[in-house]
Homo-oligomer: 525 residues x 2
């Protein structure tokens, strides 16, 4: 910072404060203070990564990687600091701990869980996983470019072996997949997820076939036109604000791969990308990320950096994005409110009437690429990946046989077959980066969303009428009461049972999809 | 970061690398590795501050302050780590150190210097200074709002006492001001600066009087119009790029108070603010910050984070911004190149011809507000502050008498008198923040710039012709050869003598100003 306020000397007072920290006596207070400071470093890391994806100059990538690696090292050192174990031991051996508050029990449970996981993994394996992830992504990129799975095969084989070792090191009861799934959907069991997704798959395959032969088809092309980025941004921000994303505590920026990230208790940032010929692309991206952001903004700020102030799982997180994107944002009540705004922002460009628009944004069509899939077929893309990665880890499927297995499942579930590996097995980065157990959280999100929304509709009267007036507060309050405020106080399975009265099921999603799409496509009930 | 690449586990490999670091044996290598890592933290702090001033959501300020304080603490801990002293002791006691490279000697000298300064200051004083700075700025803001110096007086009195204590703790030969000046212009002596600025003051007072009574006056109003921000941005970026600021390694953004900051060896960011009725305001801001940025971009990337890769002083830094803003950017050769571009970007808005524009951007007029002052009178604003703050610290001037002394000097040097404290003694934030010894670096920058540029014109033929073609490479190479590449290898006084053959003098600046302004204003030579 040139020519303004050098700060060097202002630091020692902070140093002095740190020394005073040692006077804090209760282990629980020490643990929380320490965790909050670690979270500050993690939130700084989030800024480095956000900036990396938004405004970083082209030549600055190498040094940014070093900055991120340094913070990662500092954060890791803190998370595995022996003092953490000492505090946890002291708290857990205190007989009064069992009767402490929900917040306190959640804090101890989750910090213990993370500490134990970090300690179980041998340093050599973690290093090798890290190297294999970097290398794997490079090789994957080249292989995808060349549309040639065989180039990627050795790297993937190596990665599968490493993930099997990781699962063994972490330990599991029934299925090695359990150990990996737990990183993304904590406390979930593979057998439960598999049973739910199998029920979902059967219903979806049937629905996709019915829709394919339906008397009416969605007029997707009706939404093509010229939609300047600046207008799309204004419309998107207006709608995100309307549903409840707080721009005083957040931002919207542009990136190649949209995401939502949190940099502090009042700093949640979402991103999108624009296609000037097709506005729904950026628009639903914004609603999706705003849904993620509203969950983050709904967590208790006073608990920021502690488990009660943290999102509980990727599946629950995804449910919050999907609920606003799909259950709300693809519904007619929402568009009764949004349509006049769209007409105003896209003056002269939006030729479709509201009914045409509503049908177009609810089109369903089997396709090859996951990230372009619609609300129905998307889950089949996920189920294919889940089934395949589970078999890879369990050893029932050889890496060499993956492309054939992939094509067979696409043909079987979706009736389409990739022409090459690039639009087939090489389309996703996840496996190359070692992300096994991540995919099912996308579909869990869709299932949670449908089940939450169905229950909210039962609990609350007049939601449709409220939406059509642009009033989303009642739904938001319901989500806050049943989900946001708890952070990690309840496990995902507890959260869904407490909120809806039932364990997770595929049925609400199917009811929702059939209820909306049947009439649109003219299916016989 | 939701729904993309969790990174938690990638950290242990970095941790392992750290453990290997202890195998590095040579103290000099250890010192450098440690300093580079500290610089990484400092560069992360720079990102936190850049973001704070550009894109931070309104409600996120409190947590950002905590993040910045945490990093400041970590950086301070590292800079005062006993290992730093151990390494320095080992290197300095090694008999071969005297014959080591310029880079090595500079590294040891500057790190020793910083370590010693940090250690000399008692923790209690640093804490009190930090508190007084925060409090002082708050009180200053209120006092300025109320246009009432008396509200600010106790806080300023307290700050002056603390700065006197700081000077005493740091130690000095002749003048307590020496100890504070050294923070901003390392190794400078107050007596030398005072002598130079006194010579400058006498010449400037005379010049301002002559220009005030000159036969012609600058047509400032000729540059008013409507200049949309987007056009100003494009024009400013095109000109910054033309003079040599690298946008592959930098950015331009918008802030309330323009600055330049460096976030890595290939990441230098500048900012500006726009006035749509008067384009020179943002434009010269951009040239100014681009000049700072080119110095930063000209430092050797391989030495990033070490003294040989760091700017040597605020005065030298300011010389690089001023040289491009004034010596180049307010010259006719530059405008022969830039004018057609301005006409194109501001199509239909720029009614002035090139001669009118040239005269208008070289207007000189005594005024009350430093940050709005022109190239000539600006230095008188600085000299007034320098003289006053030196007397405050030396005890020759009482804080209570400051407003009267301020007004007297403004009347004496510039012929104007503030109507109230807000446009007088309360206009700058510096003293409230404890920044004593900072002001003279602004004028030192102007003096260095004129002396460097005069010498470059002697060394290089055809600069004017090159500028008028938009070719600034020869000048940039000269600056790189004589200034950029050295970083902190030479003290500012050595740098100016080596580059120009003479110690710093006020004469080149006066020659430059009279040479340009005399003909424009029609002064008799």
């Amino acid at each position: 910072m040139i020519a303004w306020l050098p700060r060097r000397r202002s630091t020692t007072s902070e140093f002095a404060r740190e020394q005073n920290d040692t006077m804090v006596s209760a282990p629980y207070d020490s643990l929380c203070a320490y965790a909050r400071e670690t979270a500050q470093l993690a939130s700084i890391d989030a800024l480095l990564q956000w900036d990396d994806r938004t405004y970083l100059p082209p030549a600055a990538g190498d040094y940014r990687a070093e900055q991120i690696a340094l913070l990662a090292k500092l954060i890791h050192q803190r998370r595995t600091d022996p003092r953490v174990a000492d505090w946890l031991d002291a708290i857990e051996s205190d007989t009064s701990h069992g009767s402490s508050s929900d917040d306190e029990r959640a804090t101890v449970r989750w910090i213990r869980r993370e500490y134990t996981k970090q300690k179980k993994l041998p340093t050599g394996l973690v290093e090798e996983l890290s190297r294999a992830s970097v290398k794997g992504q490079q090789v994957w990129l080249e292989a995808r470019q060349a549309q040639d799975f065989r180039r990627f095969q050795p790297a993937l084989q190596h990665m599968v072996q490493l993930k099997q070792q990781e699962a063994a090191a972490l330990g599991y009861d029934a299925d090695p997949y359990d150990a990996l799934l737990d990183d993304f959907e904590p406390f979930a069991r593979t057998a439960d997820v598999a049973a739910t997704l199998e029920g979902l798959r059967e219903e979806l395959v049937r629905l996709v076939q019915e829709l394919g032969g339906a008397p009416r088809q969605a007029p997707v092309e009706a939404l093509r036109g010229h939609f300047p980025t600046s207008q799309q941004t204004q419309f998107g921000m207006a709608m995100a604000q309307a549903i409840g994303f707080g721009f005083d505590r957040g931002r919207l920026d542009v990136t190649a791969h949209p995401f939502c990230t949190t940099l502090g208790p009042n700093d949640c940032r979402i991103t999108t990308r624009y296609d000037e010929s097709f506005f729904p692309s950026a628009f639903y991206g914004i609603l999706h990320e705003a849904g993620h952001g509203m969950y983050e903004q709904g967590l208790r700020p006073a608990q920021f950096g502690l488990p009660p102030g943290s999102a509980v799982s990727l599946g629950i997180h995804e449910s919050q994005s999907r609920l606003w994107e799909n259950q709300v944002g693809r519904g007619m009540p929402f568009w009764r409110f949004a349509f006049p705004h769209a007409q105003r922002y896209f003056a002269g460009q939006l030729s479709a009437d509201i009914d045409t628009l509503y049908f177009a944004i609810n089109h369903v069509r089997p396709s090859l690429i996951r990230v372009e899939a619609d609300e129905v077929t998307y889950n089949l893309h996920i189920i294919i990946r889940f089934e395949l990665e589970r078999e890879l880890l369990g050893g029932q499927l050889a890496v060499a046989d993956l492309p054939e297995a992939w094509s067979a499942k696409y043909q079987h579930y979706l009736g389409v077959t990739p022409a090459d590996d690039a639009e087939g097995v090489l389309q996703d980065i996840h496996w190359s980066a070692g992300l096994f157990g991540y995919f099912p959280t996308y579909s869990l999100g869709n299932l949670y969303a449908a089940q939450f929304f169905e229950r909210a509709q039962q609990d609350l009267t007049g939601l449709d009428e409220q939406f059509s007036r642009g009033d989303f507060a009642t739904l938001r309050v319901w989500l806050n009461r049943h989900i946001y405020q708890y952070g990690q106080c309840w496990m995902p399975s507890e959260l869904v049972e407490r909120a809806t009265g039932h364990p997770l099921s595929h049925e609400p999603l199917i009811r929702y999809l059939r209820g909306k799409l049947g009439p649109l496509y003219g299916l016989t009930p």
